[in-house]
């Protein structure tokens, strides 16, 4: 029996004891093929999934390496069945290859006749295929490249896409590294992406995903379509690109509800792309508007279904997905794998934090005991009203005021779900409120004021969940959330993770009402963060009020 840091469980999870002396080495060795599921303080849990193993295959690792790694670091004997399963699963990737045939165009080639026969027999595959060229090769309708990959993944025979990419319309783009430079992991991410052709880069919030996008554009030297979650985020991409690259104002277009510019680099929002007019997605032709050489999907874990559908049709263009997490609440990870591409780069939050690129964060859950009156109101409320009632309870407001007071001088964000509550808080704290109805111009003005330190505190609704760069925000107070969304919690924490000028620690408060559904939802959201290594401390609201240690 060796004394390795890894324990391989029969349910295909890998437990890594982080305090073990070989833990770091082991983590690097298993990261390519195992997906990090939880990273709490002592034992990290990784999981072997078919997607993860195929990602590893796509990145050039083979089953032997994987098995060898498991055996090398495992503390106990590894179940034989699991090793066999790993080899089997990995063996499935690449038996089918999508190739460009000089005479017949796009073809599906197999190294294994039996697999090809099995696949061709599938009812879902048949309509996608053209003529049989020889024993091992079948023509594929070029328009079905993405769809075919999707279906093949579903039936467990993922195809390796070697059919290459169109170069797209060339357009010179270069990084301007003045006063900053590409970080090592950003460069690795861009390089890995470029080597793989298409795929997803996973980096924590605040780790500079935009710059990875810019670096990828500099590699592509071609017209680029960037899809982002909302207009504010689009403006931020634009200003980042202007700052970091040779691109000029005239070269970057915004394609949103407000403006419809199509330029060599065009930034479009998911919302406008999925707007339907008379049941038709009116703006999807943007994908075909120019001969794009690169398409970047920001926050790929939020990619809406219609965009997936359209992405299936543009498989010959290079695609880069950027995200903080591949966890999709809708379970469409497989679509991301087959349509955008395999994971090309991944770095755990804590690693980047350790390198000083994101600020360390301290998460605190403040439990507020509701007044008897509030408890009675809560107890007798209709079920659908309950969350709102406890999330917006007046008892919370006093605690929030006190918290803001305690961090006076720090750049503080108060984040919430319910507009009434936010308006009320804004009034009591005497600070501006940003919500859905705030105009883009006003939002930008306020964010700018916040950045410059003119304004110390902002009350924001969920519009600020994504992609808003507020580097100096160091305190976030979450007063209510969209029920138990783990995604949202991570995004909100991400708002305050930009490294601080003074190198200080960020504070993330979640104010919740004790013994209510608020507490249950908070527990669900926090599990995700705890699994990312951000453990919550729990304090009592009375301690906050009494100026106790928090």
């Amino acid at each position: 029996m060796t004394d390795g840091p890894l324990i391989v469980q029969s349910d295909k999870t890998l437990l890594l004891e982080v305090d073990h002396e070989l833990a770091h080495e082991c983590r690097l060795a298993i990261a390519p093929f195992a997906e990090l599921e939880r990273a709490p303080e002592h034992v990290h849990t990784y999981r072997l999934t078919p997607l993860g193993l195929w990602n590893a295959r796509a990145a050039g690792h083979d089953a032997e390496q994987v098995v060898d790694t498991l055996l090398r670091y495992s503390r106990y004997a590894v179940p034989h069945a699991l090793l066999v399963d790993v080899a089997d699963t990995m063996g499935r990737y690449g038996r089918l290859k999508l190739m460009n045939h000089p005479a017949h165009g796009l073809v599906l080639e197999s190294t294994d006749r039996a697999v090809l026969e099995e696949v061709l027999r599938s009812k879902k595959i048949q309509p996608l295929m053209g003529a049989r060229l020889d024993e091992m090769t079948v023509a594929v309708h070029p328009s079905e490249r993405g769809h075919l990959k999707q279906v093949l993944l579903k039936i467990g025979w993922p195809a390796e896409d070697l059919a290459g990419y169109v170069d797209g319309e060339a357009h010179p783009i270069a990084l301007v590294e003045e006063g900053w430079s590409l970080r090592a992991y950003q460069r690795d991410a861009a390089d890995n992406f470029w080597a793989g052709g298409s795929g997803v880069v996973v980096l924590p919030c605040g780790a500079g995903k935009t710059i990875v996008g810019a670096a990828a554009m500099a590699r592509a030297q071609a017209t680029t379509l960037i899809l982002v979650t909302n207009t504010v985020s689009a403006r931020q991409w634009k200003s980042e690109l202007l700052k970091r690259t040779t691109l000029t104002e005239e070269e970057i277009g915004e394609y949103s509800g407000a403006r419809k510019e199509i330029r060599p680099v065009t930034i479009a929002t998911y919302q406008v792309m999925t707007t339907r007019r008379k049941g038709v997605y009116a703006h999807l032709e943007l994908f075909d508007e120019r001969d794009w050489g690169l398409i970047i999907y920001d926050e790929v874990h939020l990619l809406p279904a219609p965009i997936f559908r359209f992405t299936a049709d543009i498989q010959s263009r290079r695609r880069l997905g950027l995200t903080a997490t591949l966890v999709r609440e809708d379970g469409h990870e497989g679509e991301v794998f087959s349509l955008i591409g395999p994971k090309r780069y991944d770095a755990p939050w804590k690693d980047i934090e350790a390198q000083g690129y994101i600020a360390p964060a301290d998460c605190v859950e403040v439990r507020v005991t509701l007044s008897d009156h509030e408890r009675m109101a809560y107890a007798t409320a209709e079920p659908e009203e309950r969350y709102r009632l406890c999330a917006t309870a007046a008892s919370k407001t006093r605690v929030i005021e006190r918290l803001v007071e305690r961090h006076i001088g720090a750049q503080t964000l108060v984040i919430g779900q319910y507009l009434d509550q936010l308006d009320d808080l804004g009034e009591r704290l005497g600070v501006p409120v940003i919500k859905g109805e705030t105009t883009v111009r006003e939002r930008e003005r306020l964010f700018e004021a916040f950045r410059t330190g003119e304004v110390h505190t902002l009350v924001v609704s969920k519009v600020a969940n994504f992609s808003i760069d507020l580097p100096e925000a160091s305190v976030a107070i979450q007063v209510s959330g969209s029920f138990g969304s783990r995604q949202e919690e991570a995004q909100r924490l991400g708002r305050i993770l930009r490294p601080k000028a003074n190198g200080g620690t960020a504070r993330f408060y979640a104010v919740i009402a004790r013994d209510t559904v608020d507490q249950d939802f908070a527990a669900h959201r926090q599990r995700f963060l705890a699994e990312q290594g951000y453990a919550y401390r729990i304090v009592d609201a009375d301690d906050v009020m009494a100026d106790g240690e928090v």
């Binding site: 469980q9 029969s10 495992s74 729990i538």
Partner: protein, 821 residues
């Protein structure tokens, strides 16, 4: 002195030799024979010999076959060792000697080198085709007509014969004359020689159309005819020709076997593994753990016992989901626990599967001993978990723990497979096919199909149990095979991880035990946390419900805190402390109990008075609130007592309304109205009338139509037809053919005899299906219940024809029975 019989030989044998015989053929001892004569008789009997032969390896069996061939050549005479040796020239002397000695030991042969005898039973069991040779010519000629034999004698220039016996003698002498055969074969056409060659080593017979055709050497036109005309092939039946044994032996140059195999085939090693024992250790550990997990779960929630015995498919699936392993493996866990005596039917009316008391003893032993118990039970059992889910001849699915899983071959094959693995070099993994080839040599008479399946099952099961690891026999497995369970446990112990007494607690409310836990801690943790993942380590998750479970089980928050603090190597994470405290704070805040009735009264003093009243003691009152009492007596009784105390209580309904009380007036359960005597009946409806007429007509036909129209003396008015069974069938068939209606007497289920008029539709499988006029529907009648049949042809006279055919000859017995009527 030469022995004259096996009994003599046994009498002359040493005690050791006898003991060896009894050891090798244990069935001879049950029951213990009274003397050596009886022992000899039993040892020569076919059933006992068959069992002995089943245990022989291919080589020894071959030598015995050769001995049978030799014995057939000289009927009634013993054979000599030299003869036998001569037929096995390709084998080495020690191999032949060894086999003969073995056969002598087993009393399948007796005598000495000059006179060896094959016991009769052995000749029977070996059969008519020893070593793949056909029957002797003499036997074959039994089916050949004398004319054909005479023609052969004539064609082959053999002396004429006066009778069949002589003809056979001449022909036998002819095939035993090898010079003559050589001479004949020298002139044989090439195709005929090829055919002989094929039959000589292959199956000694082949299919030919009209094999018994008359052929003469002069007119033979095909190779088969050429051979038939010369008695080199003989028709054994009209479609088969066989090669006479003498000819076969001649073609084999006197050798019984082309390639004798005195030793087991060598195995090809599939690969040499280097982590056999660690892998096996881990598997052994998980197997024991799975057994515990399952039995613990079943102890709380026992799966029902099927009526047909065994465990339902759905229960098996549930168990598989619980253990997170495949179904076959789950079945193995269950079956192994069962044969180890850890699991059994509860024996209650509501029968289910429960852990036995032996399970508790078992669980208190160290893991390696637990494993040894399971593994030895597995090795020896005749139950074969691999059969679960297969279908038998009647298409019934074999259920886990069901009655259809016993296979006597199973333990033998299991032992056999492990022995083959044990004989291979250490760490060698072998393919199932290789192992099977060896087993086929060691026990050639065992059924191959079942054995193949058993070999495969044994390999996969041994792997799961940790008897094997990576396809090779493990150290503990080796000890187990030697029959030393204690050694096996000792060999396993160092392979099992040491139990730990600590866990790692984490802020995401999980606890990780990085190895097996000491059993107290494992049980305590399992109570307060849910197990999320098992394997080398165990991951526990604390949830509200798991903590509540611990509190429900009587643990206090302090107990839980101190348990966590004691067994955690790091500080207890704050969220976990909060979770425990939160749950403890809320636990028991709401109390639930049962009361039979309640008493409420706005005047608190009345209730206080009631509480102290001795007369109310039997109501077992308890005060819940100043104005509320509960009682353990029914509302009725409480009311009655209150009234007797001089109080004036009112009853309340479930929703709090006052119930108005009246003296109880009772009712029967719902009853049907009593029958009414018929006075003036209402006129029946038209439909009813029509139906009545039809019924009357049918009844009329039944009673009148056959009257005077049946065979004379057969039926009078109202007399049921009676016919013998054969006649019944004949009549029904005739009626079916003619589409005629029949009048039948029919014994119904209650034993009363009714008469029916039926239009037969179908007659098959002992049932008559037909349109019953009385009931106006198609009915089925069991033919054996039909007392008799008379045909009637829709009221006219044509059916008389049938009687003239003589179909109605009466059985004297039926006439007799009819007499009293």
């Amino acid at each position: 002195m030469t022995a004259r019989s096996l009994a003599d030989a046994l009498r002359a044998a040493s005690d050791d030799a006898l003991a060896e015989l009894l050891g090798a053929r244990p069935e001879l001892l049950s029951p213990v024979p009274s003397d050596l004569g009886q022992l000899a008789a039993r040892a020569t009997g076919a059933p006992s010999v068959a069992r002995a032969l089943d245990r022989l390896d291919r080589w020894t069996l071959n030598v015995l076959e050769a001995a049978c061939i030799a014995a057939d050549r000289t009927p009634g005479e013993p054979i000599s060792y030299a003869d036998l040796r001569g037929m096995l020239a390709a084998a080495d002397e020690p191999d032949v000697r060894r086999a003969v000695d073995r056969l002598l030991t087993l009393a399948l042969l007796w005598g000495d080198d000059d006179g060896l005898n094959v016991v009769i039973g052995a000749r029977e069991v070996v059969g008519t085709q020893p070593a793949g040779l056909g029957p002797p010519l003499q036997v074959l000629l039994g089916a050949v007509s004398p004319w054909v034999m005479l023609a052969m004698l004539d064609d082959l220039d053999l002396p004429a014969a006066a009778n069949t016996g002589e003809a056979i003698d001449h022909l036998v002498a002819y095939v035993n004359d090898s010079d003559r055969l050589d001479a004949e074969l020298a002139t044989a056409p090439r195709e005929a020689l090829a055919l002989l060659e094929k039959l000589a080593w292959g199956p000694p017979s082949g299919g030919v159309e009209r094999a018994d055709r008359e052929v003469r050497t002069a007119t033979a036109s095909t190779p088969v005819e050429w051979l038939l005309a010369r008695a080199l092939l003989v028709a054994s039946d009209p479609r088969t020709v066989a090669l006479p044994r003498e000819v076969g032996l001649h073609l084999r140059r006197g050798q019984a076997f082309a390639h004798p195999q005195p030793t087991a085939p060598a195995v090809v090693v599939a690969g040499v593994r280097d982590r056999v024992d660690p892998t096996a250790g881990a598997q052994a550990f998980s197997f024991v753990r799975a057994t515990e997990e399952l039995l613990e779960a079943w102890g709380l929630d026992s799966p029902p016992l099927l009526k047909a015995g065994g465990l339902g498919v759905r229960e098996l699936r549930r168990a598989a989901a619980l253990l997170d392993v495949e179904e076959w493996e789950t079945a193995l866990v269950i079956e192994t626990a069962y044969v180890a005596g850890l699991l059994g039917p509860s024996g209650e009316i509501d029968d289910g599967w429960l852990p036995t008391p032996a399970y508790d003893l078992w669980r208190s032993t160290p893991p390696e001993e637990r494993w040894a118990t399971l593994a030895s039970a597995w090795l020896r059992t005749t139950r074969s978990a691999g059969l679960v889910g297969s279908r038998d001849d009647r298409d019934r699915v074999a259920a886990t723990l069901g009655p259809d899983l016993d296979r006597t071959l199973a333990p033998e094959v299991r032992g056999g497979v492990l022995t083959v693995l044990a004989d291979a070099p250490p760490g060698a993994a072998l393919d199932a096919a290789e192992i099977e080839a060896v087993l086929h040599w060691t026990r050639p008479r065992r059924p191959a199909g079942l054995r193949r399946a058993l070999v495969e099952w044994t390999l996969r099961e041994a792997e799961r149990l940790g008897v094997a690891g990576q396809g090779a026999l493990s150290g503990p497995g080796r000890a187990l095979l030697r029959g030393e369970a204690d050694d096996a446990a000792d060999a396993l112990a160092p392979l099992l991880p040491d139990p730990l007494d600590h866990v790692l607690l984490q802020a995401d409310l999980t606890a990780v035990a990085p190895g097996p836990l000491v059993s107290d801690l494992a049980q305590a943790l399992a109570l307060m946390a849910d197990i999320e993942s098992t394997g080398g380590a165990t991951v526990y998750r604390f949830t509200e419900s798991s903590v509540r479970r611990a509190l429900d089980a009587g643990r206090s928050a302090d107990d839980l805190h101190s348990l966590l603090a004691k067994h955690s190597t790091t500080q207890v994470p704050q969220p976990l402390t909060y979770l425990v405290d939160d749950m403890a704070r809320r636990h028991g805040r709401i109390r639930v109990g049962a009361a039979a009735s309640y008493i409420r009264c706005d005047d608190e003093s009345v209730l206080s008075e009631l509480l102290v009243d001795k007369r109310a003691a039997e109501l077992r009152l308890r005060r819940l609130a100043p104005t509320v009492l509960i009682a353990q007596a029914s509302g009725e009784l409480v009311l009655e007592r209150m009234r007797s105390f001089g109080l004036a209580p009112a009853a309340e309904s479930a929703d709090g309304a006052v119930l108005v009380r009246r003296p109880d007036s009772r009712r029967t359960q719902s009853r049907q109205r009593p029958p009414r005597l018929a006075t003036e009946l209402a006129a029946p409806s038209a439909k009813l009338r029509a139906a009545a007429v039809r019924a009357l007509r049918a009844g009329d036909r039944a009673t009148h139509a056959p009257r005077g129209r049946t065979v004379a003396g057969m039926a009078g008015a109202g007399v049921l037809p009676r016919t013998a069974a054969a006649q019944t069938l004949a009549l029904l068939q005739a009626a079916l053919e003619h589409g005629a209606a029949v009048w039948i007497g029919y014994v119904d289920q209650h034993g009363s005899v009714t008469e029916r008029v039926v239009d037969p539709i179908r007659l098959e499988g002992g049932y008559l299906t037909g349109y019953d006029h009385r009931y106006e529907e198609v009915r089925t009648f069991a033919v054996h219940r039909i007392t008799g049949v008379a045909t009637l042809e829709a009221g006219d006279s044509e059916f008389g024809d049938v009687s003239e055919n003589g179909n109605f000859d009466l059985d004297p017995r039926t006439t007799e029975v009819r007499g009293p009527a």
